[in-house]
Structure formats: C-alpha cells, structure tokens
C-alpha cells in the first residue's frame, strides 16, 4: 500500500513536471536586466518601453532593475535562467562578461547583450544602436540655428560611445557652419539632474546658444528653456519638458528589435548575430521637428534623415582629421565599424582634451 502511494505520488510529480515544462516551452518568457531604475526617464526607461512592447505582443516578461555590473549580475542572470526564462536581455555594457559566463551554463537559454562585442557561445547575441547618426542630424540643426557660433555639449564619461557622438555632432555642425566652436563639459555622471543643470548653465553663461547632451535627465533642456536657448532631447522625446527650447530629440527605440527576437525564439528561428541598427532600421528615431526651425532647414534635415537611413550618407565620411591634423578617414572613404567602436580621439574642431 505504502509503495503504491509513493509510486503514484512520484508519477504524479513527474507528470506535473512534464506539464510545467510543456507549458514553459509553449509560452516564451523574456527577462530584462537593467542597470538603473525604470524611473530614470532615460536609458533604462527606454529599454522598459521596449519590454512593454514585447508584453503587448503577447509574451510574458520579467525585469530586474538596478543590477550592479558585478558578481551580482551573474547571480541575477543565473536566477532568471533557472526560473524558466527563454531569452534574457542584458542592457548595459558592463554585463558583457557575466552574460557570456552564465550563457555557457545555460545553453538552452538565449542571451542578448546590449552595446557589447563578446559572443563567446552560440546562445549569445549582441545589439546596439547607431546613435551617432542621430547626432549628425542634431549637429546639422545646431550649426544652422546658432547665432553666437558657440555650441555647448554636456558629456558624461569619456568612452567611445560618447566620443563618437561628440565627433559626429561636430563634423555635421562644421559642415553647415565652419565657424562654430563646440565647448564640452564633462559632468562625470549619466544621471544627476542638479549637476547636469549646473553644467548646462555654465555653458550658457559662456555664450552657448545651443546645448546638446549625452546625459540622461531632462534637467538640461529645462535649463535651456529658462535661459532662452535651444537644446535637444536625449533618449526620449523631451519636447513637453521644454517646448520652446527643444528643437528635436533622438529617441532610443528598442521595441521592434525586442519583439523580433522574442518572436524568433518562439518560432525556433533565433540565431546568434551582432546587430548595430541606426535610423534606417528604426532603432534610432528622430522626433518631430520644432516649428521654430526655418522650413529649408526642416527640409534639409528630412533629406539627411532619409539619406542616413538609406546609407547614401554616412556620419563619418572623409576627409576627417584629428585635432593634430592627422588624417583619420581618407577622402571618399567612410569610417568602418571597427574604427567607430573604438573611437577615442577627437576630430579637428573639437576643443580641449579627452579626460584620461
């Protein structure tokens, strides 16, 4: 009698287990790991907008926010992989090694790492956005709209992503207005409204009448609004925070990619790849153009946007010189992705040195 009970108990457990596994295999579950809070209205916020798109497409999602880029990340990833998630998006550069390490332990789980370059296992893919294309557009607008010929730029940390943005912005601005100067201030933060506002104020007090930013909060556009100068939104459409100051915004649009990849898992068509999408694929989106921009500039921007999308125009087209006058990209050539990914020198026309 005892044995029978145990046997039936065990067999029902096995049955239950198979049922659960079957259920998991049917509904794809996606997980997202965030570096910051979803309430930052910047980088993480935009990834979470992407997650919601996945949810809207009918998939279950989970997210963990504020995960440090340390051993904690591995722990979180293992936990997510263990709890029946089929695809895990790790949305910060510093998750690169933890992602590859945990991916080795869970060959059946797909891992997608944002902004990294290591794909050590067949179940790791990487993806990033060509934000520098957006900055080419901003530079064109800034160079045209400035009257003082001084453009302020609030930067975060000296990494290739930020340097590439400064370069692409300055090259575009110089192209329409050779007299401009780009003044750069390093805030050494991604996200501190008070500090960002102070940095912007310093640039405005020094004569900048257009402010660009590579930090996340809306404090800079609000400061520009107060001071009566122009600015651009970062990561999301910031127009409502500063309707007069914001000429346009560059939005990070992860949703379509996320939905694609989760669907690929559901269809069994997922495979490893490296994705670097720009305006053309809709990962970088230019918000509506402000009516204060003259109509010929608006037309020019729309054309540039279309040309960047089609590949007719590249943000880094030679001849490009560095600050010392050395040739970086020869005439008629464009910078290759390897050069872009490791870009750590200013182009000619940017003032100052990159902090070491």
């Amino acid at each position: 009698m005892h044995k029978f009970l145990i046997r039936s108990f065990v067999s029902s457990l096995v049955l239950l287990f198979t049922l659960t596994v079957a259920a998991v295999a049917k509904d794809v579950k996606a997980a997202f790991v965030y570096i910051g809070p979803t309430g930052d209205h910047g980088w993480t916020y935009q990834h979470d907008v992407g997650r919601k798109a996945v949810e809207a497409a009918g998939f279950k999602t989970t997210y963990v926010e504020g995960v440090p880029e340390s051993a904690d990340a591995e722990r979180v990833l293992r936990q997510l992989a263990n709890s029946g998630h089929d695809i895990i998006f790790t949305t910060s550069f510093g998750y690169m090694n933890p992602t590859n390490k945990v991916a080795k332990e869970f060959p059946n789980v797909k891992f997608e790492h944002a902004t990294g370059y290591k794909r050590e296992h067949p179940n790791v893919a990487t993806y990033a956005a060509r934000f520098y294309e957006g900055r080419t557009i901003l530079g064109t607008i800034a160079g045209t709209m400035t009257k003082s010929n001084v453009i302020g730029y609030v930067a975060s940390f000296p990494i290739p992503e930020v340097i590439r943005g400064i370069n692409s912005f300055t090259l575009a601005a110089q192209k329409v207005n050779p007299n401009i100067k780009t003044k750069i201030v390093w805030a050494f933060t991604w996200y501190d409204p008070g500090k960002e506002a102070e940095a912007a104020k310093a640039l405005i007090d020094q004569g900048a009448d257009v402010i660009a930013q590579h930090t996340d909060s809306t404090a800079i556009v609000q400061m520009a609004e107060k001071a009566g100068v122009y600015a651009f939104g970062q990561a999301s459409d910031m127009d409502k925070f500063a309707p007069k100051a914001v000429l346009t915004s560059v939005e990070n649009n992860w949703g379509p990619y996320y939905v694609d990849r989760v669907k690929a898992v559901a269809n069994g068509t997922w495979s490893q790849k490296d994705t670097w999408h720009g305006i053309g694929d809709g990962m970088v989106v230019i918000s509506g153009l402000d009516s204060q921009m003259p109509s010929d500039l608006q037309a020019k921007v729309k054309k540039l946007q279309a040309d960047l999308a089609s590949g007719k125009v590249h943000s880094f087209t030679g001849p490009i010189y560095d600050q010392k006058g050395n040739l970086m990209v020869a005439e008629g050539k464009t910078a290759d992705d390897g050069m872009l990914a490791g870009m750590m020198t200013y182009v000619k026309g940017v003032e100052g040195d990159i902090p070491k």
Binding site: G36, P37, T38, G39, D40, H41, G42, Y45, G152, K183, I184, V185, W186, A187, F188, T189, Y191, D192, P193, G194, K195, E196, A197, E198, A199, K201, A202, L203, D205, Q206, A208, S217, T218, A219, Q222, M223, S236, K240, F241, A242, E351, G352, D353, P355, K356
Partner: protein
C-alpha cells in the same frame, strides 16, 4: 579676456541657487544634532520631500500645498526615526541609515507614476528689478521664496541657538541630557521636536530640487546631496554660519569647475570634479581649528541614547 560684471553676477547667482538644498538640509540636521541626536537619514528625508512635493504639485496643482506637504512628509518620516530612537531607544546610526534606504525605496515606488511629467513653473520674486543694478541684480532679485528663506536660515538658526531660551534648552539637552532632565526639561520631547524640525527642513530641501531647481521627478534625484549636507554639519563644527560658507564653497567650486572646463583650462577634469569635496573640507577644517570652540559647540551627547530613569 574681458570679464563682464553681469557675467560674474550670473555665476554668483547660480552658485547660490545650487547651495540652497545644502543649506536647508544642513541647518535642519544641525538643530537635530545639537539636541544630541545623530540622524543619518538626511538623504532619505530629502528624497521623500522631493517626491512628495512633486506628486502633490502634480495632483493638486497648488504650489503652496506641495511645499508644505513636502515638509510634512519630511516630518512624518522623521517621526518614524524619532519613535525608534527616542521611544524604543534604538541605535541612532543604524536607524538613520535604515531611514535613508527606506526613503530611497519608497520614493521610487511612489514616484513610478510621476516619471516623465514636466514640473510647473515656480514663481520668482522681484523679477522686475532684475536689470536695475549691475552685478548685484542677478544675485539679489528674481529668485523663489525658498531661496531667500534658505539664506536667512543660517542667521535665524544662529540667533535661535545663541539668544533664545528654547535654543539654550536644545543645547542643554544635547550637551548633557541628564542635567537637563534634572532641571525638569523633558529631554525626549525636546529631541522629538528637533528631529521633526530636521525632517521638515530636509523635506523642503528635497522639494526645492524637484519643484524649483530641476522641476521633474526621477529616481534618486537628490544624488547624494543629503550626505554632503551631513558632512557640512560636522566640518562646520555645528556652526550655522560656517554651514553657509561651506555650502557656498561647495556649490561655487562645482559650478566654477564647469566654467573652467568650458573655457578650456588644461587641468585634468577628474581633478576639477573632485575639487569641491577637497576644498570644502580643507577650508572648513582651517576656519574651525580652534579646539576650544569646537569643544564648546560639539554636542557632547551626540548619537548617544538617553534612558530616562522614571
């Protein structure tokens, strides 16, 4: 380079504006500490004030309700601290740290629905006089009421502690709660009041950030200013006027280093960024090195729990 005198005025005005939250929070914490209570929850109370002010402004549309609501929120959260440390006699340091962690967490939770909403414009006073006097106009005119209050507060606090009877009682409680208690002073009541006052000022400091300085809500927006305010109290040797000096130096160097970067001064940026912290500490240590005065103004029972016998 020609230095425009109005340009200097503008810089001084932005320095003063950046010092406001530090002055408010430090002067509040100073009263708490002078009564012998060490509340490390300044950052937590500030962030609670920031979200409460912003949320109330968005919901009610009234700036007055929002500002007072933020102060009340600071009072409420510091009541938890007061109850734990004064009634249940818990450890000040641990409770204060818990308060900060609690404040950051709960503000993020409440704040979820307020991300991405622009703030309202906060009215400024004397805007019409903004262009009347060179140099001084941008400094004196066109600021919010909280700005003027913050710059009066160190003097009010100093007067309160030195010249009023209640100020004397607060100091007595902080220096020797036993003697104060023997004199018939209700030590617990005085400390409760001082903690709650500190909470109100930290709440106001937070509201200044989310409603006036950078009108928006995002998580963790106080960005460690609560810890700087705490440090200012110690390095100023519990002197409100020195708090004012310290806050201005700190705010000043933060802004001047941005200007130096923009001008293109060839000093490593990392050094410039660290400058405010280093110089503020050095200056305050130097102006406060009179050890007799430090002994006089340091609350001797700071951070120690007081058990009443009966």
């Amino acid at each position: 380079m020609i230095i425009d005198i109005n340009f200097v005025g503008l810089i001084i005005a932005s320095i003063m504006a950046s010092a406001v939250p530090l002055i408010l929070a430090s002067c509040g914490e100073l009263i708490t500490e002078r009564s012998g209570v060490l509340n490390l929850g300044v950052e937590g109370m500030m962030i609670i004030g920031a979200i409460s002010g912003f949320a109330l402004m968005t919901i009610t549309g009234s700036l007055i309700i929002a500002v007072f609501g933020a102060m009340l929120a600071g009072v409420l959260i510091s009541t938890i601290f007061a109850f734990l440390t004064q009634t249940l006699i818990t450890n000040h340091v641990a409770t204060g740290l818990a308060l900060t962690i609690f404040g950051i967490g709960i503000s993020a939770m409440i704040g979820k629905n307020f991300v991405g909403i622009p703030g309202k414009e906060f009215p400024v006073l004397f805007e019409g006089l903004k262009d009347t006097i060179p140099l001084l106009s941008p400094i004196l005119f066109g600021h919010s009421i909280v700005f003027y209050f913050a710059f009066a507060l160190p003097f009010i606090t100093s007067y309160f502690l030195k010249k009023t009877k209640i100020g004397l009682i607060v100091r007595a409680v902080g220096d020797s709660p036993e003697s104060a208690s023997n004199q018939g002073i209700n030590v617990r009541l005085v400390r409760y009041a001082c903690i709650l006052y500190g909470g109100a000022m930290c709440g106001l400091a937070g509201a200044y950030l989310s409603m006036i300085y950078t009108p928006q809500w995002i998580e963790n927006m106080t960005g460690g200013r609560g810890w700087i305010a705490l440090a200012l109290v110690v390095f100023s040797t519990w002197n409100p006027i020195k708090i004012l000096i310290g806050a201005l130096i700190f705010g000043g160097l933060t802004i001047i280093q941005f200007h130096m970067q923009a001008i293109g001064v060839r000093i490593p940026v990392q050094f410039l960024t660290a400058l405010p912290y280093i110089v503020t500490i050095i200056v305050l240590v130097v102006i406060s090195r009179d050890s007799r005065k430090i002994r006089l103004s340091t609350p001797s029972s700071l951070g120690k729990s007081f058990h009443k016998d009966n």
